[in-house]
Subunit: 197 residues, 2 copies
DNA sequence: TCCAATCTAGCACAGCCGTGTCAAGATAAC
DNA sequence: GTTATCTTGACACGGCTGTGCTAGATTGGA
């Protein structure tokens, strides 16, 4: 009897609008009104799908994390171990528009995550996922026997993980200062050193 | 004739209060009223020293950067090159309360820096300073002849710089996840590899 | 003691914000 | 066409924001 609306689709669209606002205007402008306007809805209509502001913020971040994870899971890896590890790491570096946007969204949440318990947990989760990505890149090299002998995988994971986030941070804050080529060079150099050249 | 107030001192105190608010409550709570309350002043009184909100934010960041730079300039380096380079790098890692607070302040500004032209420039400046720090740590090793042959100093600078910021970022977002010892281990390992051990 | 320069507190204003409520509108089965 | 149900827009409320302004408090020198 009622008007039928695809709720999931609607919520997805709104989350996408939220991401756009976050990227364009920063976390401080990520308000119900701004997102509603970006999504072409009235604040009241948006409230129907996300009763509280936090719900919106968290849903948008949740969807973002899931999207990223799905994209990585769908990757098609080359047979060469070093190339495969490089490809894996490059998925989480801002090398193109899509991934730069990802970083902008992700790091935009970072500041608020320190003061929002729920966001903090999600941030933990994603940090774990990234650490796991770093570790599996190294494991890929290790299993192939490419990795140098005598390396401490724990330290190397921390190091690679920090290197990834550091590069991402630089590209986030000052994209004009660091090119995709530079990012690639550093990562390839780093992985190359682990392999022992 | 008038009541005499040490303006510089007052501005310094207010900036310190601003840093406390930023660390404790995040950039979103860094308002004129909150800082005034933290400094034990009325908003009107604060406005006498910082007519505009931006003035306050920028002055606080400016002072923070100057303080950090002064602290590094005042360092007393050991003679051993590797130790000296390590010490230098450790100055910008959140290894103790003081430096953790520095990181919290600094990264707290990062998000806003993307949308505030003045903060953006100051952020650029500090990024340059950090890159310079990374480079001079490497240079210290290089001059002492400790550095491995055949290294590209540009790439190594980018790499060390990113590693530093990545570690700092991790310690910032999830301090409970990474200990000072871990940070130290990674940095020492990294520098050790450059030396060739 | 009194003056005058300086500092301070407080209010007012307009503009955002999140949130609650509610009446009106749209839709599809009957 | 009627009606029940879902959807939407709009308003109000209180709170926080930056900012402008003003009346009063404070204090050193005459």
């Amino acid at each position: 009897m009622p008007k039928l609306v695809d709720h999931d689709r609607r919520r997805s669209d709104i989350a996408a609008a939220a991401r756009r606002v976050l990227r364009r205007d920063g976390i401080e402008r990520l308000s119900v009104r701004n997102v509603a306007h970006e999504a072409g809805l009235s604040p009241g209509a948006l409230r129907h799908y996300f009763p509280r502001h936090d719900d919106l913020v968290r849903f948008a971040l949740r969807q973002f994390l899931d999207d990223l994870q799905a994209r990585i899971a769908a990757l098609d890896f080359p047979t060469d171990d070093l190339e495969a590890a490089t490809l894996l790491v490059e998925q989480v570096l801002p090398l193109d528009k899509q991934r730069r946007e990802d970083m902008e969204v992700w790091l935009g949440y970072t500041e608020r995550a320190r003061f929002d318990p729920v966001l903090h947990d999600m941030s933990l989760e994603s940090q774990d996922a990234l650490a796991l990505l770093a570790r599996s890149a190294l494991a890929r090299l290790d299993e192939g026997g490419a990795l140098r002998d005598g390396l401490d995988l724990d330290i190397e994971t921390d190091r690679l993980h920090a290197l990834i986030d550091g590069l991402a941070l630089h590209a986030y804050v000052h994209p004009e200062r660091i090119s995709g080529d530079q990012l690639r060079r550093v990562i390839r150099h780093h992985l190359g050193e682990l392999v022992g050249d």
